[in-house]
């Protein structure tokens, strides 16, 4: 039992989507099954940053949506601190939150404070506790001065930072970050990375991070899973992953130590059976 405590454990998760395709007005709809995620197993321990790496369309978003109990897996098991997360999804939802990159998921006509008040209330936080928490969060993400400005006047980076505040409003034990630095300039991206690091190290939260910026994964993640075409093709610490390649590299006797980007490309190509 103990091996399930203080972490989210996913075993053999599979997600298939049934697509119905219209074929004109009167012909029956054609059904097609899309295998979005094929048999993956992941662990997200508290206090660590777990990375999920892959190119666009690799199945990262579907995986994160399953792990955060937004969607149910077609098969496989998912537990959080030993509790069945599929059956008890509302219990899970109290203890997690999801932050995705981009500018969505906020009410643009509302101010930062109004947004946070609304989302806080959905988690049953109210009164002075909520006010205090909002003040603290705005401080952390550096939006104190823009607290009463409608979000539509925010820059991209400010919206992203407010998203992070929104994701922390229920003081979650586990945080899912879906490409949190997508499209941001290097300065802001760096600030956000520092914040993510702090969440795991200082506040002992379990963090799952998806990204396709290799350097980001290299800098932050304690453990990395590599996804391609819905399947897990490699996992390990970044040293493990490099070793994997390093071993083969030695055969062709290259001197330069491979960086993670090369490693990733190699892994993807290798799993697809392309050795060019």
């Amino acid at each position: 039992m103990n091996e399930y405590l203080d972490k989210i454990v996913a075993k053999n998760l599979v997600k298939n989507y049934e697509l119905k395709e219209k074929q004109g007005f009167f012909r029956p709809k054609k059904r097609r099954t899309v295998h979005a995620v094929k048999d993956i197993s992941v662990e997200i321990p508290k206090g660590k940053i777990t990375g999920l790496l892959g190119i666009n369309g690799a199945g990262k978003t579907t995986t994160i949506r399953m792990l955060s109990s937004i969607i149910v897996p077609t098969s496989g098991t998912l537990t959080m601190d030993g509790v069945d997360a599929v059956a008890n999804h509302l219990w899970v939802k109290e203890r997690i939150n999801v932050i995705s990159g981009g500018e969505r998921n906020l009410y643009w006509r509302l101010t930062a404070v109004e947004n946070l008040q609304y989302f806080g209330s959905l988690y049953g936080v109210s009164g002075s506790v909520l006010d205090e928490r909002i003040r603290g969060l705005l401080e952390i993400v550096g939006l104190t001065e823009a607290a009463d400005t409608p979000v539509e006047r925010y820059s991209k980076g400010m919206k992203q930072r407010l998203q992070i505040a929104r994701g922390l409003i229920n003081d979650p034990e586990y945080i899912f970050l879906d490409e949190p630095t997508l499209g941001l300039d290097i300065v802001i991206a760096k600030e956000i990375r520092a914040l993510v690091m702090e969440l795991a190290a200082k506040h002992h939260k379990g963090v799952l991070l998806t990204t396709h910026y290799i350097s980001e994964a290299e800098e932050l993640c304690d453990y990395i899973y590599v996804l391609d075409k819905g399947a897990m093709i490699a996992e390990g610490t970044k040293e493990d992953l490099k070793d994997l390649l390093g071993y083969e590299r030695k055969v062709v006797s290259q001197i330069k130590e491979p960086d993670l980007e090369e490693t990733l490309m190699y892994l993807i190509n290798h799993s697809r059976g392309e050795h060019a």
């Binding site: 989507y17 999801v98 109004e114 008040q117 989302f119 209330s121 959905l122 988690y123 049953g124």
Partner: protein, 270 residues
């Protein structure tokens, strides 16, 4: 319970903050309904109202009849419209999915949305209708105590109606056509512009499907505007049954919408 109230309060507050900014609302919430009201009033002009037609025998009685009809209809219809526009905005904005990511009570979120929209959207036109009712002498000093009763009835029943609309629109992404098809039958058969009592039997049967029918019957009975309806007790009972049924349907729909989404991920919409 405390959390349910908290969520409802948050939804109402959010609706107000969300809609506050645009001057558009004066057109869609006041000017258009008033123009529509006048058009219907003038459509009656070619007819002579001499002779008692189901309790309407003068221009003022007709005005009172139309004002009550329009006021109640406006409440119900604004619920349909709001359910459509908010479901679209929240879907494309990604906020719908985020709200479903929280453990908040789905019913509370749903009814909070409806009540918030209602308070926000109907007050201007209701003021206009009240003015007409005062002018038509349907509301006088001696029966002004009925106003709060009417408002509670209207608010309560349209919120429950709106909750059902919100739940329905969780299933479908664009239902503009559905809205068009819904609009005319509801106006016609629930007796907002023409007394349902004069309908042929088939039309009366259809009118029983709309809770707005009972709500209007009660309001008009209380204000002594027309004599139709089954009597206040029977209409209250029917409205009550309708409302309970709608709450039940809403609950089932919400559960199914969420289960559906958990299977297919349909609440997000890129």
């Amino acid at each position: 319970m405390k959390n349910i109230l908290l969520v409802m309060k948050a939804e109402i507050k959010k609706q107000q903050e969300h809609n506050y900014h645009s001057y558009f609302v004066y057109f869609s919430l006041l000017i258009w309904p008033v123009l529509g009201f006048l058009e219907v009033y003038y459509t009656y002009k070619p007819f002579s109202l001499t002779g008692n037609f189901i309790g309407i025998s003068s221009g003022k009685e007709l005005l009172a009849f139309l004002a009550t009809g329009y006021m109640a209809y406006n409440c119900y219809w604004s619920m349909v419209q709001n359910a459509w526009s908010m479901s679209y905005q929240e879907r494309t904005g990604g906020t719908l999915e985020v709200s479903f990511l929280s453990p908040a009570s789905r019913m509370a979120m749903n009814y909070g949305k409806a009540l918030g929209a209602l308070l926000q959207e109907v007050w201007m036109f209701c003021c206009f209708c009240l003015f007409i009712l005062l002018y038509a002498e349907s509301i006088r000093w001696d029966n002004i105590f009925l106003l709060p009763v009417i408002f509670i009835l209207l608010l309560g029943s349209s919120t429950i109606w709106g909750g059902m609309m919100n739940a329905i629109f969780l299933f479908s992404r664009d239902a503009e056509i559905f809205m068009d098809l819904f609009d005319t039958p509801m106006v016609l058969f629930s007796g907002t512009r023409i007394p349902a009592a004069c309908f042929p039997v088939w039309a009366k049967v259809i009118s029983l499907l709309f809770p707005l029918t009972y709500c209007l019957n009660i309001i008009r009975l209380v204000l002594h505007i027309t004599g139709d309806g089954a009597g206040i007790g029977a209409d209250l009972l029917r409205l009550g049954i309708c409302l309970l049924l709608m709450v039940g349907i809403t609950k089932v729909l919400l559960r199914r919408a969420e289960a559906n989404n958990r299977k297919n991920g349909e609440l997000q919409f890129y």
